[in-house]
Amino acid sequence: MNPKAISVEALTKRFGSFTAVDAITFDVAQGEIFGFLGANGAGKTTAMRMLCGLSFPTSGKATVAGFDLYKQAEKIKQRIGYMSQKFSLYEDLTVRENIRFYGGIYGLSDAAIKAKTQDMLTGLHMQSEANTLVRSLPLGWRQKLSFSVSLVHDPNIVFLDEPTGGVDPITRREFWMLIYEAAHRGTTVFVTTHYMDEAEYCNRVSIMVDGRVDALGSPQELKTRFSAEDMGEVFLKLARKAQRGDE
């Protein structure tokens, strides 16, 4: 087994003359919580979509969970979970039905789905909401459910694209507890966020500016290197150089 969960070398994505992701290179270790930071439009989502097999890279090399991104994309998909920026559970299905659906398409057996559903509902304290339509759940609950559903098939790596956007501080903290639990069980967590307090929770952080990875290291290292008080200051020092505006 490759001890690296994700290995990226000079990965690039161009849309016409616009280079969204410009030859990024980094590795993510197994079981690590890897923060993927950057201003809006820096190319985070595009990079993440490439790693999930939703978008073809223009050039560069990458392996995810030990499989080649170009040739073995469908094998990668069996081993990753993904939670997109857009809420992506079915609002007209109940909590239980959503879990069953996503578990089912990853090939889980009925017994496994049943056990998973039980675990998940208990873990999220949502037993009484099992048969509620997802539509009528509050946003924070939906995001937590969405995260749990992306882990339904016990993936090696989970990609989270701004999972806590618009969520209140208490729920955000609960959400990070869930992330820690997953990491503790050995799942690699690849997460983008705009909250700098969340960046402090990560094992390592990369900061993207204008499609490039400008800084990479543990929060402590970065703070020392940029002689900053906290991650917010590090981010500001880097992101101010950006040429690209908001999306």
């Binding site: 999930c52 097999g53 939703l54 978008s55 073809f56 994309a73 469908e74 094998k75 998909k77 069996q78 990753i80 979970g81 993904y82 997109s84 857009k86 809420f87 992506s88 559970l89 079915y90 609002e91 007209d92 299905l93 039905e97 069953r100 659906f101 996503y102 089912g104 398409i105 990853y106 090939g107």
Partner: protein, 372 residues
């Protein structure tokens, strides 16, 4: 196949939770089958005639009585001013003006020859044409009648000796609805199938769930089948409902077997759904999908032979009907419902529509991209 089962389970749940789809499944057949056959009727009745009589003779009055006695004509007015007659036409109160000249009776008796003048309101070309033709027939009969009276005690039959009797095969009562209803059933199934399927995948694109599906190891054909099968079942359900309605309301019982209808419909629905799915892989929003399928349906339906006969279309349009699945289904429906054709009679139709089905669904699977 477990993945497919899971997909179907989800799709059916969503359909039954969507009141709009359920309402449409019942409302569309009812509205289309109850209203359209009554309105879309080509038989011309109630042609409004204004008679301008300058003669006021017993013959002119007999002619007018004869016209009024048929149920095709309604006498608007009996006057002696052509201007007045024309003003009826101008105000769209009359379709025809029949002018009887002053010397009609005298000329008829003395010279064996008389003229009549007919003015037609040609804004509604079909009505003018048919009304004019009916009126000529009535006048022709009137002519025969008076000739018969004048020839006293004929040695030989003075009437023309060729008599034509006709029999109307397959639709003996010449009931226009028998012709229209099977065609309308086709339109119904086509619209339900194409619109439901075209909107479905696009909806998942809009709400973002398709991304979540695309990061799973699901196979493209599984996903497309998972969309195809539910709407196929719904389509057959709408067909059943439509057949029951046309039996209850119009007393139409297919002369051929129901099995033939269902076999063809099953294949046909695959083709229509394939088209819908293909359109939904092309479109990015429900609005685009709607416009695209509306455009296609208009072409297919107007050139499908429901309203106008394919035989009288220009050559290029006839060529188009060869690649129009709707025209095959309309033909098959009329063949089976009215003529009682069997499966072996519609072999060719099934074959062609099957090719459409395979090609369109193949394109839909091919064009559905998990990765962009």
């Amino acid at each position: 196949m477990r993945v497919l089962r899971i997909l179907l389970e989800k799709e059916f749940r969503q359909v039954f939770r969507n009141p709009a789809i359920l309402r449409m499944m019942f409302m569309m057949p009812m509205v289309q089958l109850l209203i359209m056959p009554l309105a879309a009727d080509y038989e011309v009745r109630n042609v409004r005639v204004c008679v301008v009589d300058f003669d006021h003779s017993s013959y002119s009055r007999r002619l007018v009585d004869k016209i009024g006695a048929t149920d095709y004509f309604t006498l608007v007015d009996y006057t002696d001013s052509y201007d007045k007659g024309l003003s009826y036409v101008e105000h769209d109160e009359a379709d025809l003006v029949l002018q009887i000249p002053a010397s009609f009776e005298r000329n008829l008796i003395r010279e064996d020859k008389a003229g009549l003048f007919l003015a037609l309101n040609a804004i509604n070309g079909v009505k003018a044409n048919l009304g004019g033709a009916y009126l000529r027939t009535v006048i022709g009969e009137f002519n025969q009648d008076i000739r018969l009276e004048w020839l006293q005690l004929p040695r030989t039959n003075p009437q023309p000796t060729i008599r034509i009797s006709s029999i109307n095969w397959f639709n003996p009562m010449m009931n226009y609805r028998f012709f229209m209803v099977p065609g309308i059933l086709v339109i119904l199934i086509t619209m339900v199938g194409a619109f439901l399927s075209a909107l479905n995948i696009v909806k998942e694109k809009e709400i973002g769930t398709i991304e979540q599906i695309n990061v799973t190891p699901i196979r493209k054909y599984q996903f497309v089948l998972g969309k195809l099968i539910p709407f196929w079942v719904l389509g057959l359900f709408v067909l059943t409902f439509g057949l029951i309605l046309s039996w209850l309301v119009y007393g139409i019982v297919p002369a051929g077997s129901l099995l033939t209808i269902y076999v063809f419909s099953a294949v046909y629905l695959l083709a229509v759904l394939g088209l819908g799915l293909l359109m939904s892989t092309l479109a990015n929003t429900q609005q685009q999908a709607m416009l695209l399928s509306f455009f296609m349906m208009m072409l297919f339906i107007l050139l499908g032979g429901l309203y106008t006969s394919i035989d009288s279309m220009p050559a290029w349009a006839q060529w188009f009907t060869k690649i129009n699945p709707v025209s095959y289904f309309i033909e098959v429906m009329r063949m089976v419902v009215l003529k009682g054709s069997s499966l072996s009679d519609i072999k060719r139709h099934i074959g062609v529509v099957l090719i459409f089905a395979v090609a369109l669904n193949g394109l839909a699977v091919w064009n559905y991209r998990k990765r962009s």
